[in-house]
């Protein structure tokens, strides 16, 4: 599994279409008591089904309650070298990095639908100026924002401004002990970052959260992180390990246990943007055959136009029944299950 999708073209799955058709027709046919009317009524039902499936409406409006999360992977680049993550190994070329005005336009277009905009990476604060622009715009539009960071580039001026905006900062920590920390980060950053986390706590207060990744490698460390968070009055969330193309860590929980635990997948709420502006409904889109290609690119198309395509709607429908291990990623969890004390 990788967060980096393939560009190979894929066509809608015929089996899925057939299953959908049969699933509609069989219960309907059972309702018809007169056997002579079964054929004409199933024909009418087929016409209705075909209209809902294939008719392109002249009027496509995008409207919604605040039920979507816009997640922007602002960059693949990172200043840490965590062995659990392979994203930093593939930084996007400068020529492919999305210009910030495209994302701001996207945010403006969608803000009525968003309960949150989230910036992730790579390390988002490598683009601190862009991050501040997005944070200011999100505040102006009334959309709460979350940044997931390794905290290396935090400074007092940024934190003070961020505090004023009222947004949430999430720092990834998998250990609170120097040796393990430096091993997990792939860089000797413990002595640089720890003081910055304490500074962030002092300035942001409740707007600061801690997130850890549970894997076989980190499972003895996570309880210590949790205890440290309790000691400092910080909200803590644990996300089960997913390999992001690095394949260096391993799960503490088997994929079957991850799938069978009854947790719903909330990925359908997501609108995800890659560093080059490609749009997907979930960063693990490629598990769905119809979704192996991005839905569009916000540098070239309007986001609403992208989300209202037939394929986007179709993928949203398929995602209703998603049940893959990636449902345990924080971005795919219902909000109610995050940062519980």
């Amino acid at each position: 599994m990788s967060l980096v999708y393939r560009f190979k073209a894929n066509h809608p799955n015929f089996t899925h279409t057939l299953q959908d058709y049969v699933g509609e027709m069989v219960p309907f046919a059972r309702r018809v008591k007169n056997p002579l009317l079964v054929a004409p009524l199933v024909l009418l039902k087929s016409i209705e089904w075909s209209i809902y499936r294939w008719h392109k409406t002249p009027l496509r409006r995008f409207y919604g309650i605040k039920s979507n999360e816009l997640i922007y992977m602002i960059t693949n680049a990172c200043n840490d070298r965590c062995p659990k993550c392979g994203i930093w190994e593939r930084p996007e070329p400068k020529s492919q990095h999305l210009m910030i005005n495209h994302f701001i336009t996207c945010l403006k277009r969608l803000h009525n639908n968003l309960y949150q905009v989230t910036l992730t990476g790579g390390e988002p604060l490598l683009f601190k100026r862009d991050v501040v622009l997005i944070a200011d715009e999100a505040k102006r539009l009334g959309v709460p924002m979350v940044i997931v960071t390794n905290a290396r580039l935090l400074d007092e001026a940024f934190l003070t401004h961020y505090k004023e905006l009222g947004h949430i900062l999430v720092i990834s920590i998998d250990s609170v002990e120097r040796t393990k920390w430096n091993e997990f980060r792939g860089t000797p950053s413990f002595d640089i970052v720890m003081p910055k986390i304490l500074l962030a706590k002092r300035i942001l207060g409740d707007q600061l959260r801690i997130q850890s990744v549970l894997s076989k490698q980190s499972e003895t460390e996570i309880p210590k992180v949790a205890a440290w968070c309790r000691q400092h009055g910080l909200q803590h969330n644990v996300q089960l390990y997913q390999d992001f193309g690095a394949y260096n860590w391993s799960n503490a929980v088997t994929p079957k246990e991850m799938v069978d635990d009854g947790t719903p997948c909330a990925a359908r709420k997501n609108i995800c943007i890659y560093p080059n502006g490609d749009v997907v409904k979930c960063f693990d889109h490629r598990r769905i055959p119809l979704a192996k290609e991005p839905l569009g690119n916000i540098a070239k198309q309007d986001i609403i136009e992208i989300l209202c395509t037939k394929r986007s709607t179709e993928i949203s429908k398929i995602m209703r029944t998603c049940n893959f291990p990636c449902k345990h990623m924080s971005c795919n969890k219902p909000q109610a299950l995050l940062f519980r004390q």
């Binding site: 009418l44 409207y63 979507n68």
Partner: protein, 256 residues
């Protein structure tokens, strides 16, 4: 106090005939409505509602049924309505419709209620809608104890819920605005089903053959709102539902 709201857009004499037929059934209710608002959404055909004792609210510009209903909701709230009931001009109410709807709302905790809708016509297309449950609401599965959605042609809502959840006026036609309302409403209240509150809807098919184009147009119109709704209500639309028809209106597990 129950107030009936009828939004209408009268384009032809046939629409007017439908409205008058509805008002006759309104007059024949076993329990009369305290007030009836006919909200005219700037119809091209000018008309009078005649001898029927209704408040005829004429809007200056056409804004769609959502706006027309909101105008009536605001008026009903000013008039201190307890229950606000909705139907359409091409419906015919059963004699006890008001009795059943208001009594259901009064005796239960549901924030809103839907009744059972049958086709008025006798063509195969009308029969299809009866079997299909096109306008008869949808059970929320798996329990079938509340509704996932109820079309606004056979719908009642408690005044306090209507005050919090008005129709969204960005829906320009009679398609999707009621689904949207129900999905939002369900974030706070439940929608109940009252099978004994019956009404008949006239789809306007003169025959199965000549009505076919109208049949196709109807579903094209509903499709026009579906993409909108899918994107706007991603989370709420996870829920499974089943359309209501004669064979499942009295679910054994239904607890009122």
């Amino acid at each position: 106090m129950s107030i009936l709201v009828i939004p209408c857009f009268i384009r032809a004499q046939s629409d007017l005939n439908c409205l008058r037929r509805l008002l006759d059934s309104v007059r024949g209710q076993s329990k009369p409505f305290e007030k009836v608002y006919v909200v005219d959404d700037a119809s091209p055909l000018k008309y009078e509602v005649g001898r029927h004792s209704v408040e005829h609210i004429v809007l200056e510009s056409n804004g769609g049924p959502a706006r027309a209903r909101n105008v009536a909701i605001n008026r009903a709230l000013e008039d201190r309505a307890e229950h606000i009931l909705f139907t359409d001009h091409d419906c015919v109410l059963d004699t006890d419709w008001n009795t059943e709807m208001t009594s259901f709302l009064s005796r239960t905790e549901f924030g809103a209620v839907g009744g059972m809708t049958y086709s008025w016509g006798k063509t195969l297309l009308d029969y299809y809608h009866d079997i299909n449950g096109t306008l008869a609401g949808k059970w929320l599965l798996p329990d079938r104890k509340e509704l996932w959605y109820m079309p606004s042609l056979n719908f009642g809502i408690k005044a306090f819920a209507a005050e919090q959840f008005p129709f969204d006026e960005r829906f320009p036609s009679a398609a999707g605005e009621d689904v949207d309302l129900c999905l939002r409403l369900r974030s706070k209240y439940k929608i109940g089903f009252c099978p004994t509150a019956k009404l008949w809807h006239d789809y306007g098919y003169k025959s199965t053959i000549t009505g076919f184009a109208r049949f196709v147009r109807l579903f094209k119109k509903y499709k026009s709102s579906s993409a909108t709704l899918y994107e706007g209500h991603t989370v709420l639309m996870w829920d499974s539902s089943e359309s209501i028809y004669e064979g499942n209106i009295h679910e054994p597990r239904l607890q009122v």
